[in-house]
């Protein structure tokens, strides 16, 4: 079965993971820019990271016949430092014409602070100015509900932003409805303890339907599973979903959203 992994932090993963994903049917992996697990000391750290995402990772993936795409931004965990954020935002346009860049992401909120909000607004503005797709990270655990509402307000207030060009990631049962009602796409992240399990993600699909929803592993430097998407596809099969419906969710949906970027091409 073919699938697309629309959210994975492959810079933190070993090469064997690319091989396992390719063996499981992965055709493309998309990597949003995120926190490295520690704060970078200067904008130069982001320059090197963006170079890694646009030059090195595509080559590593290509060895297994996998297409690699990425998103660029400063993440919300480093957004409390507004001066650093401004420097990183000024750097992003220099990389936007690289062939594997899909848009601005994963922007969003972490602790729902005023500075995080300011940096979010600046990056929504950046996406609007450069006509880029947007991928949004919503906060963790107790902060998710409030953060998702604040994020939706920022996006709705910027009239240049078309909702169908925005994916709000890491939705759960208490946030999925407000995202879909706003006309945006919603991502369900299959991550141990803090996000969705395969069973809950499939529940959400069964309740809300198979449109404008995708599944991702968000595998990174934490305990996480690069094969979470195909494992969830298997769980859908166990629950009696037909092969066509499964492929719709794990392949056609991400392809449909991501194809709004001219850089997203699956053929070699």
């Amino acid at each position: 079965m073919r699938y697309i992994e629309p959210h994975a932090h492959m810079v933190s993963r070993i090469t064997d993971d690319y091989e396992r994903m390719a063996l499981a049917g992965c055709e493309a992996v998309c990597e949003p820019a995120f926190w490295a697990g520690f704060d970078r000391s200067a904008v130069e750290g982001f320059h090197d990271y963006f170079s890694q995402l646009t030059e090195h990772e595509p080559k590593r993936a290509a060895k297994f016949g996998l297409k690699h795409f990425c998103w660029l931004c400063i993440n919300s965990k480093e957004a409390e430092d507004v001066k650093l954020a401004e420097e990183v935002i000024a750097l992003v346009p220099k990389f936007l014409n690289r062939p594997n860049v899909l848009g601005i992401g994963e922007i969003g909120l972490n602790k729902n602070s005023k500075n995080e909000m300011r940096v979010l607004e600046m990056q929504v503005d950046l996406a609007a100015k450069f006509n880029q797709l947007i991928l949004v990270h919503t906060p963790h655990l107790e902060d998710k509900f409030k953060g998702t509402k604040l994020i939706l307000d920022v996006l709705k207030n910027d009239k240049r932003i078309k909702p169908e060009r925005v994916i709000i990631d890491h939705v759960e049962e208490h946030t999925v409805e407000m995202v879909l009602n706003a006309g945006m796409w919603a991502g369900m992240t299959l991550y141990p303890e803090t996000k969705c399990t395969p069973a809950r993600a499939i529940d959400i699909l069964e309740i809300y339907g198979n449109e404008r929803l995708w599944l991702n592993s968000a595998c990174d430097w934490g305990i996480s599973d690069p094969l979470a998407v195909p494992k969830t596809a298997l769980e859908m099969k166990r629950r009696g979903h037909l092969a066509k419906a499964i492929e719709h969710v794990v392949f056609e949906n991400p392809k449909k959203f991501l194809s709004q970027s001219l850089n997203f091409k699956l053929e070699q």
Binding site: N112, E116, L141, E142, R239
Partner: protein, 85 residues
């Protein structure tokens, strides 16, 4: 899925998780001090198991339901329950 299929697929798994929750609460009780905001949120969340939209309402029981951004992020981490409820 039929009820029979749901139970065949998920009953043992759910039973196992319920026993884990019970033993967690016994463990907390043995430790003595039950005056922690996380535990209070946990008990509030348990009451949601009797109503509709259980998963959604359990998640909301742990959530910050205020609407204004906080002044400053002093930590990066989330702990799973909102302290000032």
């Amino acid at each position: 899925m039929t009820t029979q299929q749901v139970l065949d697929l998920y009953f043992l798994d759910a039973r196992h998780k319920l026993v884990e929750i019970a033993s967690f609460l016994d463990r907390v009780e043995r430790a003595g001090d039950e005056d922690d905001f996380r535990l209070k949120a946990f008990h509030e969340a348990l009451t949601k198991l009797n109503g509709k939209e259980k998963a959604k309402n359990v998640l909301l029981a742990f959530s910050d339901l205020t609407v204004k951004p906080i002044a400053k992020a002093t930590t990066k981490a989330a702990c799973g329950a909102y302290p000032d409820k």
